[in-house]
Symmetry: C2
Subunit: 315 residues, 2 copies
Amino acid sequence: MTRKAVEDVRAIACLGAGPIGGGWAAYFLSQGYDVTSWIFDAAEEERLRGLIDAAWDALTELGLAEGASRDRLTVTTDMAEAVANADFVQESVPEDVELKQGVYERLGRLAPADVAICSSTSGLSMTDIQAKCATPGRTVTGHPFNPPYLMPLVEIVGGARTDPETVAWTGAFFRHAGKAPLVMDREVPGFVATRLQEAVWREALHMVNEGEATVEQIDLAVTNGPGPRWALMGPCMVYHVGGGEGGMRYCLEQFGPALELPWTRLEAPELTDSLTGKMVDGCVEAAGGEDFLTLTRRMNRGLVQVLKARRASGF
Amino acid sequence: MTRKAVEDVRAIACLGAGPIGGGWAAYFLSQGYDVTSWIFDAAEEERLRGLIDAAWDALTELGLAEGASRDRLTVTTDMAEAVANADFVQESVPEDVELKQGVYERLGRLAPADVAICSSTSGLSMTDIQAKCATPGRTVTGHPFNPPYLMPLVEIVGGARTDPETVAWTGAFFRHAGKAPLVMDREVPGFVATRLQEAVWREALHMVNEGEATVEQIDLAVTNGPGPRWALMGPCMVYHVGGGEGGMRYCLEQFGPALELPWTRLEAPELTDSLTGKMVDGCVEAAGGEDFLTLTRRMNRGLVQVLKARRASGF
């Protein structure tokens, strides 16, 4: 099977009329693709077009690709028609495993053989979703972060019967399409982003439950503390920069003992040499040769811009 | 004891020449205060002034108060001189409990009786810090988020012998001085922001340790997923908005069962009616009457600005 080169993808089928399906349609239109949206019921078309219209101002401000137009949207209730000429399929039907299995059984027959079929699922396993599909090798998860037309992240992972080539191609395609693909080599519940988000959420619930903080205080702490930094650098690089000249290694030496303090209800793993090595090597690689001062200056310039941006948008 | 009204504070003593002490000096100067920095050794003055100079561009871009000037900085190694005319003392000496106890013993005698003495400590308890202070009622923790000249958050909490009035006054002072004060009614290890940050950090360490994700993937997930939203709205309001018209209540009904899924290694508390009530009430209050669509539009406008801001600053 030879799949089109990612830069030759022109037509995308988006399944689903909800905020995720509609968000994907809006995003792909903004990037200049032809989009065919499959909806379950013709009555959903108005809502779908409303979602796309609501997204368009933001997409315009972020920059439309040449030739991008909402006129390049086709809407149909015929799944065969929706995928007949597609170069890529993004499925966002409701999160019901039996429903999805039925859809993949049909898509496996209807979509051209060389076309990848990608699920927006946030909680189901592709191994389950692809169970009744006759061509599971080209099925893959591509989990967006809501709203998909704004958030860059797409977490990509195959199921047990997905071809590794499909996973790699899908990662390359999303990168080409302007997204930030995160290609995982195995299925992990909650992928990466949801796991990290869920850790914050559960600690927050505990704190509210125990009267240690209110909802208002939780949100105030995040938006005025780690939030603005995390819009720029993730938790690893934030600590790498926080470690000064010594970077992540110094940080782990300095704050390693704090991992045993009750600073959250989640117990830390043991800080072995192997784990320290992975953290240090990962940060050194991510820094790409930028030294402490350069990273700090860039971080602080970014923080100023983020703080100004949120002030300007009424936060 | 009558303390000055927060708007009458003119002179601030900042103790410490490190990134926190220097960052505070830079911030208070930018807000138009007279600042006296106490440093342990005269040789530290150059580093301190370098820190302030490095912060000044960012502070200028964020907006200096009328009359703000680096010329209003005095540097001394004499603690008595540093605090003699202070209306407020911000202490940022190294995180060593015996060292701080000694400093508070001196400050308790040297600082004018009606002046609040505030510690930047991130990990020590004010109950311990104030142990040898003869006037502990006016000592309080005011923990900034690094860098203190940029990040708005200041977590404020008293020790066992702190007067409640000192805690309230310090919160009001930081609000007046342009910060985002979070006033806690009891000491909790890690305050609020560090606890939430630490939950992310420990889940991330587990994932790297188990080979579920790399350092690069952890950071990619946060900066392209929850990070930009958390620069605008905290985790509670993000879910309140994510719940659509039904808000946090719908969100908890819908995703409540997911609290039992292995989406992070941290176990969630039981979602009792009492906890649900606190979460829902807190979000409704925070929304301040704004409905779902208004909140969503504001959130999305903010996201566009944050994404543009980070693009413009080289991320």
